[in-house]
């Protein structure tokens, strides 16, 4: 950077003044970058904990002095038997990794795993004070165990069933309502839209008791219906998002279709919906994540129906039961994370746009 400036060396004083400024800038940038990297590391530390723990044995989780990385005790197999390997300080000051063959109170017999034929080594001292030798060992089998114990396939199918059906409902109803609000003038439209927006700040709990009692009286409690059916009646966030987008679609398009004799329904399906696809994708994604996380509805309406649980409730019950088997708990938490994170990686742009539209363009 300095050398090309050399052939322009007309104003050395200015050159000298700018170089330190650039250096200071660079230093600032680097420290800033490193500082944020550290914050990020701390922020994501629990995730690393989850990954590491999910790959450990329960033995390692409760063992004193166990390493941070998923490992198991090193074993030495000989003559059909396996022996634990320890780091043994030798009289000559070196440390050797030896397999404990015969345990004794004051002295124990070891064998060198690399030279098992060399015979037993007698070592004086308490073997319990020795450090066990650990070897990296990733227990992927924990994921299989967690998957089976929790019957994850069923939770997954339930959740996907819920997500698919209700996403169809949410997207169709919201685009319908959004089209009504964005293209037609009728009395009290502004007021109606305000009421729609006001439902965002309404705590859902206030309507819960009557709706629950109603579903109870028509025997819907215990089924998915009370959770799925309301999604077919649109929701304020989705309507807002799609409406914002539809307002940006040129009206000339509808007018042209109208002159050609298209009814509003035809216009909606042939002109507006194809144009609004990006907004519909955003709503689809949001609704999918909403379903994946939806907790309170399934918890109260599906209580006592484990075969119908979605992931959120199934995981909770599993967690309450297996809270002591932390490796399984972490493995199941990570399994539940896989699909949303995959979708996030592929659809990040759409998601960010959607968040920005609902949050900023009020």
């Amino acid at each position: 950077m300095g050398s090309p400036a050399g052939n322009l060396a007309v104003t050395p004083s200015r050159n000298r003044a700018s170089t330190p400024a650039v250096v200071v800038m660079r230093i600032k940038q680097v420290t800033f970058f490193l500082g944020i990297l550290i914050v990020l590391a701390v922020f994501l530390l629990p995730l690393a904990y989850g990954v590491f723990t999910s790959l450990k044995t329960e033995f390692q989780l409760s063992a004193v002095g166990a390493p941070v990385l998923p490992s198991s005790l090193e074993q030495f197999e000989n003559g059909g038997k396996s022996y634990d390997v320890y780091s043994v300080p030798m009289p000559d000051g070196t440390t050797k990794r030896l397999a404990l063959v015969e345990k004794g109170r004051e002295s124990s017999k070891f064998v060198d795993p690399t030279r098992p034929d060399a015979g037993l080594i007698d070592w004086k001292g308490a073997w319990r004070a020795l450090n066990a030798s650990w070897r990296i060992d990733l227990r992927w089998v924990n994921f299989v165990t967690a998957w089976k114990t929790i019957d994850f396939l069923r939770l997954l199918l339930n959740t996907i069933m819920y997500a698919c059906i209700s996403t169809i409902g949410a997207v169709c109803s919201a685009s319908f309502v959004a089209y009504g609000f964005s293209r037609f003038n009728f009395p009290f439209k502004g007021a109606a839209f305000l009421v729609l927006m006001a439902t965002i700040v309404l705590p859902p709990s206030v309507t819960l008791i009557p709706t629950y009692s109603f579903y109870f009286s028509i025997h819907w409690v215990g089924t998915w219906l009370p959770i799925i059916i309301p999604t077919f009646f649109s929701n304020a966030y989705n309507v807002f998002l799609i409406r914002q987008f539809m307002m940006g679609i040129p009206r000339e398009l509808d007018e042209a279709a109208k002159i050609d004799g298209a009814s509003p329904l035809q216009t909606f399906f042939s002109i507006i919906v194809p144009q609004a696809v990006p907004a519909l994708i955003v709503v689809m994604l949001f609704h999918f994540f909403f379903c994946w996380n939806d907790f309170f509805g399934p918890l109260i309406y599906l209580a006592g129906q484990p075969g119908r649980f979605p992931i959120s409730v199934g995981l909770t019950k599993f967690f309450n039961m297996y809270v002591r088997q932390n490796s399984l708990v972490q493995a199941s938490a990570l399994i539940s994370t896989a699909i949303p994170i995959c979708i996030f990686i592929f659809a990040q742009k759409y998601l960010t746009q959607g968040i920005v539209v609902t949050g900023v363009e009020k």
Partner: protein
């Protein structure tokens, strides 16, 4: 042009109006129906329910008791005001920390000094993608008194004996549990950060340039330009956060099935509502608690909306 149009075809104008009314109503009818079925009627009947002693586990046994449920909630049952106070106390700790963290993060992730913005934004957003139950399970492990990394790191860095039976009890200590729940909540903060970043990008750069020419430093630019310009987004997030905190339920339910551990500290109002309504099936009393949640949330919303003229700045106004 407008007058020519209305003057020339008055008859068509009214048929046009009827046409718009008809189709407008057809298209918004899903919402209108849904609003009546799932909002208005249940809300009103919720008030009615609150006047009955009504238990779903004993079918047919409901008795009109007037304001008895309300009296019980407000005057006799100390659990209700206590649960409200606990919810406020938690909000008092969690909201300032979350907002400060989200704002700082947004400023940092939007700073011109930062290289690799999209990388950092994606990774800071990542935990918001984790299903919230999974988040709680992961944090439950990492905050574990004995084997959790937080205590182990504190111990190895500071030498303070953080693990063991006299160690730091993040989730069992009366003093720490709200703070721990706040940390857990920071993993769901991604959306707020995104909206703040979007708000920051909308601040006109000329404002900063003008301020720099006038000799304003970093702090002045922050408090005089940046913060006032993003007050609408702070306002929006504040309303959502207050409604959300009033209904804070998932974390205490997943961690200890809503039993209030430690010492009733996590008996938030929504937890109590769940217990009365869906453990004891006291639907009449549950309706009262739900209305109390609603009234408090509405009070805060109304206060925020009426004071917004004083502190929320909308671009383009005035």
């Amino acid at each position: 042009m407008k007058s020519a149009r209305t003057g020339a075809v008055r008859g068509r104008g009214s048929s046009q109006r009827r046409f718009e009314l008809k189709w407008g109503l057809i298209f918004i009818s899903p919402w209108v129906l849904g609003f009546f079925i799932f909002f208005l009627v249940p809300m009103v009947s919720s008030l009615g329910f609150s006047l009955f002693d009504f238990n779903l586990s004993a079918v047919g046994a409901h008795k009109f008791i007037g304001l008895e449920n309300w009296k019980r909630a407000v005057l006799k049952d100390t659990e209700v005001p206590l649960a409200v106070l606990k919810t406020f106390a938690f909000a008092g700790i969690s909201l300032p920390i979350s907002f400060l963290f989200a704002l700082t993060l947004a400023l940092v992730l939007n700073s011109s000094l930062l290289r690799g913005k999209s990388f950092f934004r994606a990774l800071f957003y990542l935990p918001a993608m984790i299903p919230f139950v999974g988040t709680v399970m992961i944090w439950y492990g990492v905050l574990n008194q004995h084997a959790g990394w937080i205590n182990q790191i504190i111990e190895s860095v500071t030498g303070f004996k953080a693990t063991g039976s006299n160690g730091i009890q993040w989730l069992q200590s009366v003093n720490l549990v709200y703070l721990s729940f706040t940390w857990i909540g920071l993993w769901g903060i991604g959306n707020m950060v995104m909206t703040f970043i979007a708000g920051l990008q909308k601040v006109p750069t000329e404002l900063y340039e003008a301020a720099t020419v006038d000799g304003a430093g970093w702090g002045t630019r922050l408090t005089r330009i940046t913060l006032p310009m993003i007050t609408p987004i702070i306002f929006y997030n504040l309303i959502l956060a207050i409604i959300g905190t009033m209904q804070f339920f998932l974390v205490p339910y997943v961690i200890n099935r809503g039993d209030g551990t430690p010492a009733g500290m996590t008996n938030f109002i929504m937890v109590y509502f769940y217990r009365q309504s869906f453990n004891y099936f006291n639907m009449g009393y549950g309706a009262v608690i739900a209305w109390i949640i609603f009234i408090i949330a509405m009070l805060f919303t109304v206060v925020l909306f009426t004071t917004q003229k004083r502190w929320v700045y909308y671009m383009g106004e005035k």
